[in-house]
Subunit: 367 residues, 2 copies
């Protein structure tokens, strides 16, 4: 039998039907046709998916492990998702919960360019958690956004990411925004000695994103924000390879489909394709992830995984200054604490609030 | 107030909380920060989303209409999805069910290159439904796939699409597959006088897909298959614009997230970005769509919509020859009847079965 990966699904079914359902998934995610129509022995032996294991994990809920031929993926990032969950994603009662990749397939993908060590080297944060703010609201002109960035930088924050809604709109074109924000951050750094890094949000097609990256790098940008499900999985993976010195923070917008388990989707697959830091909705914010999901996601992002560098979790989505100690206790120091709107809502106190945020992270005693 | 589109959500909530929930969606899909942190009057007046209407549509379920500024989208295909449903897609209990676009925004997108009339002109099917088969299983070499294509073409089928799992794998590289299949179809057409059109499946990043299209066009291909959620929404829209004489059939793989209503997702948004024909899981097959969903999807794909050409529905996913009359009664003649695995499973009777399929479609009396 040829080399296989293991895709792990949770399936709602009854005891009488789960074996047939599992076989149907194995066919759907491989040849997608009745096996009686196939007489080619290579296809039957080396391509057709195989049910490796079935176990009931809760009443009426089964874990199904399918062995899928890695030859169907051929190290193509889009095919990875297509073969893991493509048509099955449209079927009811089935979630993709994990995947076990053979080392050869795993190593065919780049993983993060910088990883945790690279982001620590970039920011000079050797042991503590990293701090991040968000640049918004969209609709502000470049000068307005740059002024906010300067005020956050003056408080000593490590990173400022664009809101994922900031694209290339006429009221704030990408190049003018990058120029204005980087000018503001350069000026602040010259005054305070602290370098805040700006992660502008890429948008448009692959060519547009390449041009945006080149412009940003020319202005001194070291890391960017990208939304893989908006940009497209192949475009994300392509940019990671083409810009190997740049850090990529991923945003989950449009990906919250909850049919791929978040620890796998963000913590493992986004990391595999090159996420150095992965934004996701933290428990207790505006989104519905549980504590257990968030913990598993962070653990997956950082876990040793062959030569694939570890990735920093970025729990976000309605975080506030009051939650800093609790978040640091929960996630530990290998984390980016991102506070977006709650900081900006402090208005004239923005720099002081950022300074207190930065101090709270710096002084937090890790157990 | 600046130009707005209307995004329509269905939200699970109770009467006491729905107003706040609707306002939260309006904020999430526009500025994504507390309004008290915003003092810029342009942002407050022209960018912040507004709740336009709330109505209970079922016990505990509300229709919420949000007016979103079209300026945030700036005619960017990725931004269209990002602003309609980005972060809200990650929240529980909310579906995007429809969208009403002002004509200026609608007309900023290309719509289908060929549309229904173009696909009819291409195939010579002036009034009847179109017929399509699928080329699979993956794992077969180009010669094996070409032989299957020749046998389907000999039965007089209009279209043969690649299985969406066929990418650029070593066992069947795209260019060799296209060459082999087009050679086989040319030979068959010379003998029978009937031209079957082959729709190869694009894969990889934007550059790879462009190269695949150029190669395919050089071999006489007039239409292709693309999976927008795998390829990336911006890449799909870019290819439609760059290859304006080519038809695009979309495949739903990985898009079956059921949080965007299928009639909107496939019938309206895929069409807006350029789908000439849209594959989706028909009711009663291997997937869970209802009859009502399928009917609404087909209606949306074909409905008059300014200058956006209509698009052919392609109900699929486990269709059989026995269902042809029922499908034609249900969908009418502006449809592509796609029978994939069930035809191939007839093995040595493949050409005869295709001929019967084609005859059944041709003789079907429409009411």
């Amino acid at each position: 039998m040829s080399e296989r990966l293991t895709a792990i699904y949770h399936v709602t079914a009854d005891a009488a039907s789960i074996a047939a359902r599992a076989r149907a998934i194995a066919v759907e995610q491989s040849v997608e046709m009745p096996l009686e129509g196939i007489d080619d022995p290579y296809v039957l032996d080396h391509i057709v998916g195989r049910v490796a294991h079935i176990a009931e994990v809760a009443p009426g809920r089964y874990e199904v492990r399918i062995a899928l031929a890695t030859a169907t993926i051929a190290a193509d990032p889009g095919q990875l998702f297509n073969m893991l969950f493509g048509n099955t994603s449209i079927q009811d009662g089935v979630d993709l919960v994990d995947v076990d990749l053979p080392a050869t397939l795993r190593d065919a993908f780049p993983g993060p360019n910088l990883g945790i060590a690279g982001l620590r080297a970039l920011t000079g944060a050797t042991a503590r958690a990293l701090t991040s703010g968000a640049l918004k609201p969209q609709g502000l002109p470049p000068a307005g956004l740059a002024a906010l960035a300067a005020r956050m930088a003056a408080g000593g924050i490590d990173l400022i990411k664009d809101d994922h809604g900031l694209a290339d709109q006429p009221y704030s074109p990408f190049t003018r925004r990058v120029d204005a924000v980087m000018d503001a951050l350069d000026t602040t750094a010259a005054r305070t000695g602290h370098r805040t890094h700006y992660l502008p949000s890429l948008s448009g097609n692959l060519d547009a994103m390449r041009a945006q990256l080149r412009h940003a790098i020319g202005r001194g940008v070291s890391a960017v924000l990208i939304a893989p499900i908006i940009a497209g999985i192949p475009s994300f993976a392509t940019l990671v390879r083409e810009f190997p010195t740049i850090g990529f923070m991923t945003h989950p917008t449009l990906s919250g489909i909850a049919r791929i388990a978040p620890p796998l989707f963000y913590g493992k697959l986004f990391r595999l394709l090159g996420a150095d830091a992965v934004v996701y909705p933290n428990h207790g914010g505006r989104f519905g992830y549980t504590q257990a999901t968030c913990f598993a996601l962070a653990a997956a992002a950082r876990a040793p995984w062959g030569g694939i560098k570890p990735c920093l979790p970025v729990p976000a989505g309605g975080m506030t200054q009051a939650r800093i100690p609790e978040m640091l206790d929960f996630y530990g120091p290998d984390t980016i604490v991102l506070i977006g709107g709650a900081l900006l809502a402090t208005r004239e106190r923005l720099t002081a609030e950022v300074a207190e945020f930065v101090a709270a992270v710096a002084r937090h005693p890790f157990a």
